[in-house]
Symmetry: C2
Subunit: 192 residues, 2 copies
DNA sequence: GAGCCATGTCATCAGTTGGTGACTTCTAGG
DNA sequence: CCTAGAAGTCACCAACTGATGACATGGCTC
C-alpha cells in the first residue's frame, strides 16, 4: 500500500519495529484484524513477513501492541467541558475518516468480531477509553453516562463505516454533527 | 452447535434449505461473516457442506439470503410513536442478546469488516433499515434523524458486543435504558 | 582485521478455507 | 417393478494463513 519507510537505512531494529507498527495500525484500522495478513503488513512496511513474528511474537501480540500505542480518548478530554460534544462530533461526522484520531475507533470496531482480538479490545477499551471517560465525568452516574457517550461515539463511527456519508450532503452532515454534539453534551452535563 | 433439525425426514430439499438458512443466521450473528465457515454452518444444520454451495451458490449469496429473510426494523415501527424509544431501548439494553430481534443488528455489525459482506450489508441496511425508518419519521429532517437514531441503536449494540454488560448492575442497566429511550424519543419527536 | 551477535532473507510447513465434480442413494411417476 | 432425476455423500483441489527454522550478511567490539 505504501513504499518502504526508510529504504536508505536498513538493518535498524528500532526503525523496523516502528515501520511494522505503523503499517499494522493502518491495516488494522482499514481492514480489521481478520482481513489483515502478516504479509500485507510486511509489504507495507517494506519488511520480510518473518520479522513480524520475530519482533512481536505473533499476530495477537502485534495487535495488542498497536492498540497500546495508539492515541486514546485523552485527547478529547483536554480543553473545556462545554466544547466536548462539538470537538468529538466534528471528528465523528465531518472530518475525513483518514484522520489519526479516528483510527483507534476503527481498529476496535473492525476487529471485535475476531475472537482473538476481542479480549484484547475489551481490556484496552476499558483501560484507555472507558475508565478515563468515567473519571473525567466524575459524578455518581459516571459509569452509565460514559456508556451512553460511547454508544453515540461508536454508533456514529459504525454508521460511517457502513455507508460512508452515502446519501448525505454537506448541509445534512452539519445537522448530523450538531445533533451528535448536542446529545453528547447532554450526557456530559449529566442530563440523562 | 445444535443437533440436526429433522433427523427423521432426510431428503427434503425445502427443509434442508431452511435448516441451512437458520444455522447460517445464528452463526453469522454470533461469529460474523469471516469467522463462520461453511463447515460450521453445515455441521449445525446436520447437512453436508457441499450442499450449501449447491443450494445457494456460495458463501456470499448465502449471506445475502440470510440478511434478506431476517426480521428488520419494521417490528419496532409498529405501535405508538411515543413508545418507540422505550421499545427499542429495552431490546438494546435489557433484554438478553439471544433475542431474535437482535440478530439482524449483530449480523451486520459483526460482518462489516469483511469486504465481501460489506457491500451486501450496505445495500440491505439501506433497504430494510434506513429507508423504512426515514419514511416512518416522515418530516423534512428525516434523513438526518434516521441517521442519529441508527447511531444510538448501533452504538448500543456495539457497546454490548464489546463488554457484555460487564461492570454494569441491574440498576445501572435500567438507567442506561432510560437514557437511550430518552435520546431516541428526542430524535423521533424532531428535537435534534 | 577477526569474530560474533543482531538483523534480515528464504523456503517451507501444517492447518484451514471456499469450492467443485464424480459418485451413490433415495423417491416419484409410469 | 423400473427407471430417471432429485437429493445427498465423498474425496479432493487450489489458495491462503500464521508460523518456524535454517541460512546469509551486515556492523559493532575488541
Amino acid at each position: 500500500m505504501s513504499p518502504p519507510l526508510s529504504p536508505v537505512r536498513t538493518r535498524n531494529a528500532a526503525a523496523t519495529r516502528t515501520a511494522i507498527l505503523e503499517a499494522a495500525r493502518r491495516r488494522f484500522a482499514h481492514e480489521g484484524y481478520d482481513q489483515t495478513g502478516l504479509r500485507d503488513i510486511a509489504g507495507d512496511a517494506g519488511v520480510d513477513a518473518a520479522l513480524i513474528s520475530r519482533y512481536f511474537g505473533g499476530k495477537d501480540e502485534l495487535f495488542a501492541e498497536v492498540l497500546a500505542c495508539s492515541p486514546n480518548i485523552a485527547e478529547f478530554l483536554e480543553g473545556d467541558r462545554e466544547g466536548f460534544g462539538e470537538r468529538v462530533a466534528q471528528v465523528l461526522a465531518v472530518e475525513p475518516m483518514r484522520e489519526e484520531k479516528f483510527e483507534l475507533f476503527l481498529i476496535m470496531l473492525r476487529s471485535v468480531s475476531s475472537p482473538k482480538a476481542a479480549e484484547t479490545i475489551r481490556i484496552h477499551s476499558q483501560q484507555a477509553f472507558f475508565q478515563p471517560l468515567q473519571d473525567w465525568l466524575g459524578d455518581k452516574d459516571a459509569a452509565v453516562r460514559a456508556r451512553l457517550l460511547s454508544c453515540v461515539m461508536m454508533g456514529a463511527t459504525m454508521n460511517r463505516m457502513i455507508h460512508e456519508d452515502f446519501l448525505l450532503d454537506d448541509q445534512q452532515r452539519r445537522e448530523l454533527c450538531a445533533g451528535l454534539a448536542r446529545t453528547l453534551d447532554h450526557y456530559v452535563s449529566g442530563e440523562i
